[in-house]
Subunit: 158 residues, 2 copies
DNA sequence: GTCGCTGCAAAGTCTTTGCAGAGAG
DNA sequence: CTCTCTGCAAAGACTTTGCAGCGAC
Protein backbone atom coordinates (compact mmCIF):
# COMPACT_ATOMS: atom_id res chain seq x y z
CA UNK A 1 0.00 0.00 0.00
CA UNK A 2 2.67 2.48 0.97
CA UNK A 3 4.05 4.16 -2.03
CA UNK A 4 6.45 6.59 -0.45
CA UNK A 5 9.02 7.31 -3.07
CA UNK A 6 9.32 11.01 -2.47
CA UNK A 7 10.75 13.07 0.35
CA UNK A 8 10.41 16.77 0.87
CA UNK A 9 13.33 17.71 -1.30
CA UNK A 10 12.01 15.67 -4.14
CA UNK A 11 8.62 17.23 -3.69
CA UNK A 12 10.02 20.69 -4.16
CA UNK A 13 11.86 19.59 -7.24
CA UNK A 14 8.76 17.82 -8.39
CA UNK A 15 6.76 20.98 -8.01
CA UNK A 16 9.32 23.03 -9.88
CA UNK A 17 9.12 20.52 -12.66
CA UNK A 18 5.37 20.69 -12.68
CA UNK A 19 5.36 24.45 -12.69
CA UNK A 20 7.77 24.42 -15.55
CA UNK A 21 5.61 22.03 -17.53
CA UNK A 22 2.74 24.39 -16.96
CA UNK A 23 4.72 27.36 -18.20
CA UNK A 24 5.79 25.46 -21.28
CA UNK A 25 2.22 24.49 -21.93
CA UNK A 26 1.09 28.08 -21.60
CA UNK A 27 3.78 29.41 -23.85
CA UNK A 28 3.05 26.81 -26.47
CA UNK A 29 -0.53 28.00 -26.63
CA UNK A 30 0.22 31.70 -26.40
CA UNK A 31 -1.43 31.85 -23.01
CA UNK A 32 -0.25 33.95 -20.13
CA UNK A 33 1.27 32.93 -16.86
CA UNK A 34 -0.70 34.72 -14.19
CA UNK A 35 -0.60 34.76 -10.42
CA UNK A 36 -4.05 33.17 -10.34
CA UNK A 37 -2.95 30.25 -12.46
CA UNK A 38 0.15 29.74 -10.39
CA UNK A 39 -1.76 29.82 -7.13
CA UNK A 40 -4.26 27.29 -8.41
CA UNK A 41 -1.54 24.89 -9.48
CA UNK A 42 0.35 25.33 -6.24
CA UNK A 43 -2.72 24.82 -4.08
CA UNK A 44 -3.65 21.70 -6.01
CA UNK A 45 -0.13 20.44 -5.55
CA UNK A 46 -0.05 21.11 -1.83
CA UNK A 47 -3.35 19.47 -1.21
CA UNK A 48 -3.57 15.74 -0.85
CA UNK A 49 -7.31 15.96 -1.07
CA UNK A 50 -9.50 15.62 -4.07
CA UNK A 51 -10.87 19.09 -4.45
CA UNK A 52 -14.05 20.45 -5.89
CA UNK A 53 -13.78 23.78 -7.67
CA UNK A 54 -15.50 25.32 -4.69
CA UNK A 55 -13.25 23.79 -2.04
CA UNK A 56 -10.19 24.71 -4.06
CA UNK A 57 -11.47 28.26 -4.24
CA UNK A 58 -12.00 28.32 -0.47
CA UNK A 59 -8.54 26.93 0.18
CA UNK A 60 -6.96 29.59 -1.97
CA UNK A 61 -8.85 32.32 -0.19
CA UNK A 62 -7.62 31.01 3.14
CA UNK A 63 -4.03 30.70 2.03
CA UNK A 64 -3.95 33.95 0.11
CA UNK A 65 -6.44 36.29 1.74
CA UNK A 66 -5.10 39.27 -0.16
CA UNK A 67 -5.57 37.74 -3.55
CA UNK A 68 -9.07 38.18 -4.86
CA UNK A 69 -9.73 35.19 -7.05
CA UNK A 70 -13.05 34.50 -8.67
CA UNK A 71 -14.66 31.09 -8.78
CA UNK A 72 -14.94 31.51 -12.55
CA UNK A 73 -11.17 31.68 -12.80
CA UNK A 74 -10.89 28.47 -10.83
CA UNK A 75 -13.27 26.77 -13.23
CA UNK A 76 -11.47 28.15 -16.25
CA UNK A 77 -8.06 27.09 -14.97
CA UNK A 78 -9.23 23.62 -13.99
CA UNK A 79 -10.66 23.13 -17.47
CA UNK A 80 -7.42 24.27 -18.97
CA UNK A 81 -5.43 21.91 -16.78
CA UNK A 82 -7.76 19.05 -17.45
CA UNK A 83 -7.68 19.58 -21.19
CA UNK A 84 -3.91 19.39 -21.08
CA UNK A 85 -4.10 16.31 -18.87
CA UNK A 86 -2.31 17.97 -16.00
CA UNK A 87 -5.21 17.27 -13.69
CA UNK A 88 -7.81 14.58 -13.76
CA UNK A 89 -11.31 14.74 -12.45
CA UNK A 90 -13.38 12.24 -10.61
CA UNK A 91 -17.07 12.38 -10.07
CA UNK A 92 -19.31 10.19 -8.05
CA UNK A 93 -22.42 10.31 -5.95
CA UNK A 94 -24.72 13.24 -6.17
CA UNK A 95 -22.27 16.09 -6.10
CA UNK A 96 -20.02 17.55 -8.75
CA UNK A 97 -16.54 16.76 -9.90
CA UNK A 98 -13.42 16.54 -7.80
CA UNK A 99 -10.04 17.30 -9.22
CA UNK A 100 -6.57 16.12 -8.47
CA UNK A 101 -3.18 16.64 -9.98
CA UNK A 102 -2.42 14.01 -12.57
CA UNK A 103 1.32 14.42 -12.27
CA UNK A 104 1.44 12.59 -9.01
CA UNK A 105 1.96 8.86 -9.15
CA UNK A 106 -0.93 7.15 -10.73
CA UNK A 107 -3.31 5.55 -8.34
CA UNK A 108 -6.85 4.33 -8.05
CA UNK A 109 -9.54 5.05 -5.53
CA UNK A 110 -11.56 3.39 -2.84
CA UNK A 111 -14.57 5.59 -2.18
CA UNK A 112 -16.66 5.20 0.92
CA UNK A 113 -20.31 5.74 0.14
CA UNK A 114 -21.05 6.42 3.80
CA UNK A 115 -18.61 9.16 4.67
CA UNK A 116 -17.35 10.13 1.22
CA UNK A 117 -13.72 9.55 2.11
CA UNK A 118 -11.33 8.59 -0.63
CA UNK A 119 -8.45 6.19 -0.11
CA UNK A 120 -5.85 5.78 -2.79
CA UNK A 121 -4.06 2.64 -3.84
CA UNK A 122 -1.72 1.44 -6.53
CA UNK A 123 -1.72 -2.00 -8.02
CA UNK A 124 0.79 -2.95 -10.61
CA UNK A 125 -1.14 -5.91 -11.91
CA UNK A 126 -4.17 -3.82 -12.63
CA UNK A 127 -2.11 -1.12 -14.30
CA UNK A 128 -0.52 -3.74 -16.47
CA UNK A 129 -3.79 -5.37 -17.49
CA UNK A 130 -5.26 -2.02 -18.40
CA UNK A 131 -2.49 -1.32 -20.84
CA UNK A 132 -2.81 -4.75 -22.31
CA UNK A 133 -6.56 -4.48 -22.79
CA UNK A 134 -6.31 -1.09 -24.46
CA UNK A 135 -3.65 -2.45 -26.80
CA UNK A 136 -5.67 -5.48 -27.72
CA UNK A 137 -8.62 -3.35 -28.69
CA UNK A 138 -6.60 -0.91 -30.74
CA UNK A 139 -7.42 1.81 -28.30
CA UNK A 140 -4.91 4.58 -27.71
CA UNK A 141 -4.96 4.96 -23.96
CA UNK A 142 -4.43 8.40 -22.54
CA UNK A 143 -5.58 7.92 -19.00
CA UNK A 144 -7.62 5.69 -16.83
CA UNK A 145 -9.34 5.71 -13.53
CA UNK A 146 -10.74 3.08 -11.30
CA UNK A 147 -12.99 3.42 -8.34
CA UNK A 148 -14.10 0.86 -5.83
CA UNK A 149 -17.22 1.88 -3.95
CA UNK A 150 -18.12 0.48 -0.59
CA UNK A 151 -17.92 1.08 3.10
CA UNK A 152 -14.61 1.90 4.71
CA UNK A 153 -13.24 0.21 7.78
CA UNK A 154 -14.20 3.08 10.04
CA UNK A 155 -17.78 3.32 8.87
CA UNK A 156 -18.25 -0.41 9.24
CA UNK A 157 -17.61 -0.09 12.95
CA UNK A 158 -20.48 2.29 13.50
CA UNK B 1 -13.74 -9.78 -25.40
CA UNK B 2 -16.91 -11.53 -26.32
CA UNK B 3 -18.94 -12.28 -23.30
CA UNK B 4 -22.01 -13.78 -24.86
CA UNK B 5 -23.49 -15.95 -22.20
CA UNK B 6 -27.09 -14.98 -22.78
CA UNK B 7 -29.50 -15.71 -25.56
CA UNK B 8 -32.91 -14.23 -26.12
CA UNK B 9 -34.70 -16.69 -23.88
CA UNK B 10 -32.34 -16.05 -21.06
CA UNK B 11 -32.72 -12.36 -21.55
CA UNK B 12 -36.41 -12.55 -21.07
CA UNK B 13 -35.99 -14.62 -17.97
CA UNK B 14 -33.32 -12.24 -16.84
CA UNK B 15 -35.68 -9.34 -17.27
CA UNK B 16 -38.46 -11.07 -15.39
CA UNK B 17 -36.05 -11.68 -12.58
CA UNK B 18 -35.00 -8.08 -12.60
CA UNK B 19 -38.55 -6.84 -12.63
CA UNK B 20 -39.32 -9.10 -9.75
CA UNK B 21 -36.37 -7.80 -7.76
CA UNK B 22 -37.67 -4.34 -8.39
CA UNK B 23 -41.13 -5.23 -7.15
CA UNK B 24 -39.71 -6.83 -4.04
CA UNK B 25 -37.64 -3.76 -3.41
CA UNK B 26 -40.65 -1.52 -3.78
CA UNK B 27 -42.81 -3.60 -1.52
CA UNK B 28 -40.13 -3.74 1.11
CA UNK B 29 -40.08 0.02 1.24
CA UNK B 30 -43.83 0.49 0.97
CA UNK B 31 -43.40 2.08 -2.42
CA UNK B 32 -45.76 1.60 -5.31
CA UNK B 33 -45.27 -0.19 -8.56
CA UNK B 34 -46.32 2.22 -11.29
CA UNK B 35 -46.36 2.09 -15.04
CA UNK B 36 -43.75 4.84 -15.15
CA UNK B 37 -41.36 2.90 -12.99
CA UNK B 38 -41.85 -0.24 -15.03
CA UNK B 39 -41.28 1.56 -18.31
CA UNK B 40 -38.09 3.12 -17.02
CA UNK B 41 -36.72 -0.21 -15.90
CA UNK B 42 -37.70 -1.88 -19.13
CA UNK B 43 -36.21 0.82 -21.31
CA UNK B 44 -32.99 0.71 -19.35
CA UNK B 45 -32.92 -3.02 -19.77
CA UNK B 46 -33.57 -2.92 -23.50
CA UNK B 47 -30.93 -0.33 -24.13
CA UNK B 48 -27.33 -1.32 -24.48
CA UNK B 49 -26.34 2.29 -24.28
CA UNK B 50 -25.31 4.27 -21.30
CA UNK B 51 -28.16 6.69 -20.95
CA UNK B 52 -28.42 10.16 -19.55
CA UNK B 53 -31.69 11.01 -17.82
CA UNK B 54 -32.58 13.09 -20.83
CA UNK B 55 -31.82 10.43 -23.43
CA UNK B 56 -33.70 7.86 -21.40
CA UNK B 57 -36.64 10.21 -21.27
CA UNK B 58 -36.50 10.70 -25.03
CA UNK B 59 -36.30 6.98 -25.65
CA UNK B 60 -39.34 6.37 -23.52
CA UNK B 61 -41.29 9.03 -25.32
CA UNK B 62 -40.43 7.40 -28.64
CA UNK B 63 -41.31 3.92 -27.51
CA UNK B 64 -44.43 4.90 -25.59
CA UNK B 65 -45.83 8.00 -27.26
CA UNK B 66 -49.10 7.70 -25.39
CA UNK B 67 -47.52 7.67 -21.99
CA UNK B 68 -46.82 11.13 -20.71
CA UNK B 69 -43.80 10.81 -18.50
CA UNK B 70 -42.08 13.75 -16.91
CA UNK B 71 -38.34 14.18 -16.78
CA UNK B 72 -38.69 14.62 -13.02
CA UNK B 73 -40.03 11.10 -12.73
CA UNK B 74 -37.08 9.79 -14.68
CA UNK B 75 -34.72 11.52 -12.29
CA UNK B 76 -36.64 10.30 -9.27
CA UNK B 77 -36.72 6.72 -10.49
CA UNK B 78 -33.06 6.70 -11.44
CA UNK B 79 -32.17 7.94 -7.98
CA UNK B 80 -34.30 5.26 -6.45
CA UNK B 81 -32.69 2.58 -8.60
CA UNK B 82 -29.24 3.88 -7.92
CA UNK B 83 -29.80 4.01 -4.18
CA UNK B 84 -30.83 0.39 -4.26
CA UNK B 85 -27.84 -0.46 -6.44
CA UNK B 86 -29.95 -1.64 -9.34
CA UNK B 87 -28.35 0.85 -11.66
CA UNK B 88 -24.96 2.44 -11.57
CA UNK B 89 -23.98 5.80 -12.89
CA UNK B 90 -20.93 6.91 -14.73
CA UNK B 91 -19.87 10.44 -15.33
CA UNK B 92 -17.05 11.79 -17.36
CA UNK B 93 -16.13 14.74 -19.47
CA UNK B 94 -18.18 17.87 -19.34
CA UNK B 95 -21.65 16.47 -19.40
CA UNK B 96 -23.78 14.89 -16.73
CA UNK B 97 -24.17 11.36 -15.53
CA UNK B 98 -24.96 8.31 -17.59
CA UNK B 99 -26.79 5.37 -16.14
CA UNK B 100 -26.78 1.69 -16.86
CA UNK B 101 -28.38 -1.31 -15.32
CA UNK B 102 -26.16 -2.87 -12.71
CA UNK B 103 -27.77 -6.27 -13.01
CA UNK B 104 -26.08 -7.01 -16.28
CA UNK B 105 -22.73 -8.70 -16.15
CA UNK B 106 -20.15 -6.51 -14.61
CA UNK B 107 -17.88 -4.81 -17.04
CA UNK B 108 -15.56 -1.90 -17.35
CA UNK B 109 -15.37 0.89 -19.88
CA UNK B 110 -13.16 2.24 -22.59
CA UNK B 111 -14.24 5.80 -23.24
CA UNK B 112 -13.20 7.64 -26.37
CA UNK B 113 -12.53 11.27 -25.59
CA UNK B 114 -12.92 12.18 -29.24
CA UNK B 115 -16.32 10.75 -30.11
CA UNK B 116 -17.64 9.89 -26.65
CA UNK B 117 -18.28 6.27 -27.52
CA UNK B 118 -18.15 3.72 -24.77
CA UNK B 119 -16.81 0.21 -25.29
CA UNK B 120 -17.26 -2.37 -22.60
CA UNK B 121 -14.92 -5.09 -21.57
CA UNK B 122 -14.55 -7.69 -18.88
CA UNK B 123 -11.30 -8.82 -17.39
CA UNK B 124 -11.21 -11.53 -14.80
CA UNK B 125 -7.78 -10.66 -13.52
CA UNK B 126 -8.76 -7.11 -12.79
CA UNK B 127 -11.98 -8.17 -11.11
CA UNK B 128 -10.03 -10.52 -8.94
CA UNK B 129 -7.43 -7.97 -7.93
CA UNK B 130 -10.10 -5.48 -7.03
CA UNK B 131 -11.68 -7.86 -4.57
CA UNK B 132 -8.34 -8.68 -3.10
CA UNK B 133 -7.38 -5.05 -2.63
CA UNK B 134 -10.66 -4.17 -0.96
CA UNK B 135 -10.26 -7.12 1.39
CA UNK B 136 -6.73 -6.20 2.30
CA UNK B 137 -7.79 -2.71 3.27
CA UNK B 138 -10.76 -3.83 5.33
CA UNK B 139 -13.07 -2.18 2.86
CA UNK B 140 -16.50 -3.65 2.26
CA UNK B 141 -16.82 -3.47 -1.49
CA UNK B 142 -20.25 -2.83 -2.91
CA UNK B 143 -19.41 -1.90 -6.46
CA UNK B 144 -16.64 -0.68 -8.62
CA UNK B 145 -16.09 0.95 -11.92
CA UNK B 146 -13.16 1.38 -14.17
CA UNK B 147 -12.71 3.62 -17.10
CA UNK B 148 -9.93 3.82 -19.62
CA UNK B 149 -9.85 7.09 -21.49
CA UNK B 150 -8.25 7.48 -24.85
CA UNK B 151 -8.89 7.46 -28.55
CA UNK B 152 -10.77 4.62 -30.14
CA UNK B 153 -9.63 2.74 -33.21
CA UNK B 154 -12.04 4.59 -35.47
CA UNK B 155 -11.09 8.06 -34.32
CA UNK B 156 -7.40 7.28 -34.68
CA UNK B 157 -7.91 6.76 -38.39
CA UNK B 158 -9.21 10.26 -38.91
C1' DG C 1 -60.27 5.37 1.23
C1' DT C 2 -55.31 6.26 2.16
C1' DC C 3 -51.09 7.62 1.06
C1' DG C 4 -47.54 7.54 -2.26
C1' DC C 5 -46.76 8.97 -7.18
C1' DT C 6 -46.85 11.96 -11.14
C1' DG C 7 -46.53 16.01 -14.22
C1' DC C 8 -45.82 20.63 -14.19
C1' DA C 9 -43.47 24.60 -13.23
C1' DA C 10 -40.78 26.98 -10.14
C1' DA C 11 -36.60 26.91 -7.43
C1' DG C 12 -31.97 25.27 -6.66
C1' DT C 13 -27.19 23.98 -7.85
C1' DC C 14 -23.30 24.00 -10.32
C1' DT C 15 -20.81 25.91 -14.46
C1' DT C 16 -20.09 28.85 -18.23
C1' DT C 17 -20.10 33.25 -20.55
C1' DG C 18 -20.09 38.42 -21.81
C1' DC C 19 -17.89 42.44 -20.68
C1' DA C 20 -14.90 46.22 -19.41
C1' DG C 21 -10.87 47.14 -17.01
C1' DA C 22 -6.22 45.07 -15.46
C1' DG C 23 -2.00 42.97 -16.50
C1' DA C 24 1.49 39.77 -18.90
C1' DG C 25 4.64 39.55 -22.79
C1' DC D 1 1.08 48.51 -26.90
C1' DT D 2 -1.51 44.31 -27.85
C1' DC D 3 -4.19 40.80 -26.69
C1' DT D 4 -5.25 37.57 -23.02
C1' DC D 5 -7.04 37.27 -18.19
C1' DT D 6 -9.76 38.36 -14.47
C1' DG D 7 -13.75 39.38 -11.42
C1' DC D 8 -18.33 40.25 -11.52
C1' DA D 9 -22.82 39.33 -12.51
C1' DA D 10 -25.95 37.44 -15.58
C1' DA D 11 -27.11 33.44 -18.25
C1' DG D 12 -27.19 28.42 -18.95
C1' DA D 13 -27.46 23.60 -18.04
C1' DC D 14 -28.79 20.14 -15.20
C1' DT D 15 -31.48 18.49 -11.00
C1' DT D 16 -34.55 18.77 -7.32
C1' DT D 17 -38.76 20.17 -5.06
C1' DG D 18 -43.66 21.84 -3.86
C1' DC D 19 -48.15 21.05 -5.03
C1' DA D 20 -52.70 19.44 -6.36
C1' DG D 21 -54.86 15.83 -8.62
C1' DC D 22 -54.28 10.77 -9.85
C1' DG D 23 -53.77 6.01 -9.07
C1' DA D 24 -51.88 1.69 -6.68
C1' DC D 25 -52.95 -1.16 -2.91
Amino acid sequence: MSDITTNFNDRTIEYEQLLNDFKVLLKKNALKFTIQREVILETLYDSDEHLTPESLHNLIQEKFPDLKIGIATVYRTLSLLEDSSMVTSLSFGAQGKKYELGAKDHHDHLICTECGSITEFVDEQIEHRQHKIADELGFFMKDHSMQIYGICKLCQQT
